[in-house]
Amino acid sequence: MAYTFQFGAVFASMDLLAKGAWLTIQLSVAAMVAGLVFGTLFAVLRSFGGRWADRLIGAYVEAIRNTPFLIQLFLIYFGLPSVGIALDPVTAALIGMSVNCAAYTTEIIRSGIMAVPRGQIEAARALAFTTTDIIRHIVLFPALRVAAPALGSQFILVMLGSSVVSTVSAEELTAVGHVLETETFRPFEVYIVVTLIYLAIAFTLKLLFAWLENSWFARRGRL
């Protein structure tokens, strides 16, 4: 194979890549926060909000989890303008990632809630706790502790999946890769460097989640 790797042109554009990586991180963190907040809310509603809340949120979860993120993104970015809602690429990406992430976190946190022993909830009822108090003091913390490892892996998948939003021209890491590719005609070198940046972000997140899990949950005793 007579090919000489030339990374010079890629390294010369490191500032652009850093900017793209920063947007990737911002988008991912925003989607994670939205996913955690809405996922918790939806999971609680599914478990305690009656039959219709359960069905409605269940339908949303199944619709999102059984269709590709790419199609969801196209519906938001190309579909919504035809009904009068035009979004800029970054907003569309953020909404798409959040809507997608929340469906998965709902399911993960719900299985955490189901892992809370029935007896504890019944005991709290017998002590005249209101449903809100039961959720706040009895259910939520153990549920999130059970859900934490799965949430961590899901959040990493969200970050990796954010590369897809380059298709609606949100200028994140992969999109910067596209730009450099057409400028340098060195696609392989460009995408190697981009991949290494993704790996670095993913490993950092992995360590961060492991640390958070330990410092947040470990000190507070067993379930």
Partner: protein
Amino acid sequence: MRSFGTPEFLFMLQAARWTVILSLIAYLGGGALGAVLAFMRVSGNRFASGFARVWILLFQCTPLLMLLFLVFFGLALTGYGQNAYVAVTVALSCYAGAYFGEIWRGALEAVPQGQWQASAALGFSRYEQFRHVIVPQSVRIAIPPTVGFMVQVIKNTSLASIIGFQELTQAAQFVNNLTFQPISVYLVAAAVYFILCFPLTLLSRRLEKKLHVDRPSPVAA
């Protein structure tokens, strides 16, 4: 300008065939690779196990889209030209292999150690222990998450459209460019994906209940 009608719908359905074929390729390639990786992880050989661990870690932390690009453009460097078929096959197999490998490793390790020891005590060779005692028990544990991951593979074949492969998503984009009816076109595409994925989701959930895998084995360690 065309409107979105039956011919366009049939065109998308025909392209959906490629979504199915790509998924099957990923199951075969990824399944074979995953089996090897899972076997290496539990082989007891430190180098094989370490290699498989690093492989799985790297591929689980790389965006599938980057994997597709790297194979696609890497292939061009070797002089075979830009071949979307080969690129998608290789990338999807490597990706699915890493996840299958991790799922199956977990299933193999969930079989209690005592099972290895008991079959060793009965005079089984290491291979026979693996083949006749450990694998049959771990299959039960492995099936629900495996089916669950198969859904992810179907959805992720949509990324092949980005490197120009003519499957369902690419066909939807094409039809949308003709008709400018993004909502109907992409909703139909979403519906087709849903029809492919949802039965597998239900199956995975049913198997999970039936095989009762939250308790790894009735035989206590």
